[in-house]
């Protein structure tokens, strides 16, 4: 039998495999890997979203315990519904959740947090989106897990679901100090 006759077919099968694997993994190509994982959280100081005062990276590190940083905005439709998930996670694990309000107005964010719930220990107000750039954020919502040592461990892009908390954030948090 002439094996060479099957060569084009073989190449075809290889191509199918090459395309099928990423498709079947269900990876969204719009979700980009974060370059910040394993790096120190950038230092920053922001005004808080409600009232007077400031929120800085140093404030978040005060407890020496891992915490979550959630970038959101009141104009972001995908961000609705994350608040309950984050609040439940904070209650269950005792982890602190900080919010960073991206390119918003203080009036809008206050009303929005009243309506959808406020899971945040404190919320920074990043009106220019500069802190977001330092975190490598390219859209809201994005959620970071940061260790008590200030090193970024994980980033989730898009809305958080209970399944994300149970299968990813929960186990990661247990491993993080």
């Amino acid at each position: 039998m002439n094996l060479r006759a099957f060569l084009p077919f073989g190449i075809f099968i290889c191509m199918v495999g090459l395309f099928a694997v990423p498709l079947l993994q269900g990876k969204d190509p719009a979700i980009l890997p974060s370059a910040m994982i394993g790096k120190k959280m950038p230092s920053f100081t922001l005004p808080v979203a409600a009232g007077a005062g400031q929120l800085s990276g140093a404030d978040m590190l005060q407890d020496n315990k891992p915490f979550l940083v959630n970038f959101f905005a009141s104009w972001c439709a995908t961000c609705r519904g994350e608040q309950q998930v984050l609040a439940a996670f904070a209650q269950k694990t005792g982890v602190a959740v900080y919010g960073i309000d991206y390119k918003d107005t203080k009036k809008d964010v206050a009303a929005w947090l009243d309506r959808h719930g406020n899971p945040f220990r404190a919320t920074g107000f990043d009106v220019e989106g500069r802190v977001a750039i330092d975190f490598g954020v390219y859209g809201v919502p994005e959620t970071f897990l940061v260790g008590g040592d200030g090193v970024i461990r994980y980033k989730h892009v898009g809305a958080l679901t209970q399944a994300d908390m149970d299968s990813v954030f929960g186990p990661l948090l247990e491993k993080t100090k």
């Binding site: 980009l32 890997p33 370059a35 989106g129 490598g136 390219y138 859209g139």
Partner: protein
């Protein structure tokens, strides 16, 4: 005549730029550098475009950031590194040459060599001496 008018109008019209006048630096040399750097940075939201031609909000923010870094005295390479540190290799329109990208950069050469090998084999098999 109408067609000619359309062609003439197309020739004199200028394309709409994403870079807004208030973003531009006063120093033309610096502005050229900024434009050059912007063309090497990918827009993360639109993904096919560089930030120089993208109208996305984040692209505008990074354009402003590039100009700020330049004004602060950074070299072109330092500005690119600044953005790359935050957004990874993906943000560079041209992926850097490193072990993970050797196959990517070497693929055209590999294909060329494979083609040459096939061509050589074919030529050798041709009957000798005649047309």
């Amino acid at each position: 005549m109408k067609a000619l008018t359309v062609i003439l109008l197309l020739l004199v019209s200028c394309p709409a730029f994403a870079v807004l006048p208030d973003e531009m630096l006063k120093d033309p040399v610096m502005e050229t550098r900024a434009r050059d750097i912007s063309k090497q940075l990918r827009c993360l939201v639109c993904q096919g475009e560089d930030i120089d031609e993208s109208n996305a909000g984040l692209a505008g923010d990074i354009r402003r950031l590039v100009r700020e870094r330049l004004t602060a005295g950074d070299s072109d390479a330092a500005v690119l590194a600044f953005v790359q540190e935050r957004y990874g290799d993906y943000v560079l329109m041209k992926p850097p040459v490193k072990p993970a990208t050797w196959l990517l950069w070497g693929a055209p050469l590999l294909v060329l060599l494979a083609g040459l090998a096939i061509a050589l084999r074919y030529i050798r098999r041709l009957p000798k001496g005649g047309e």
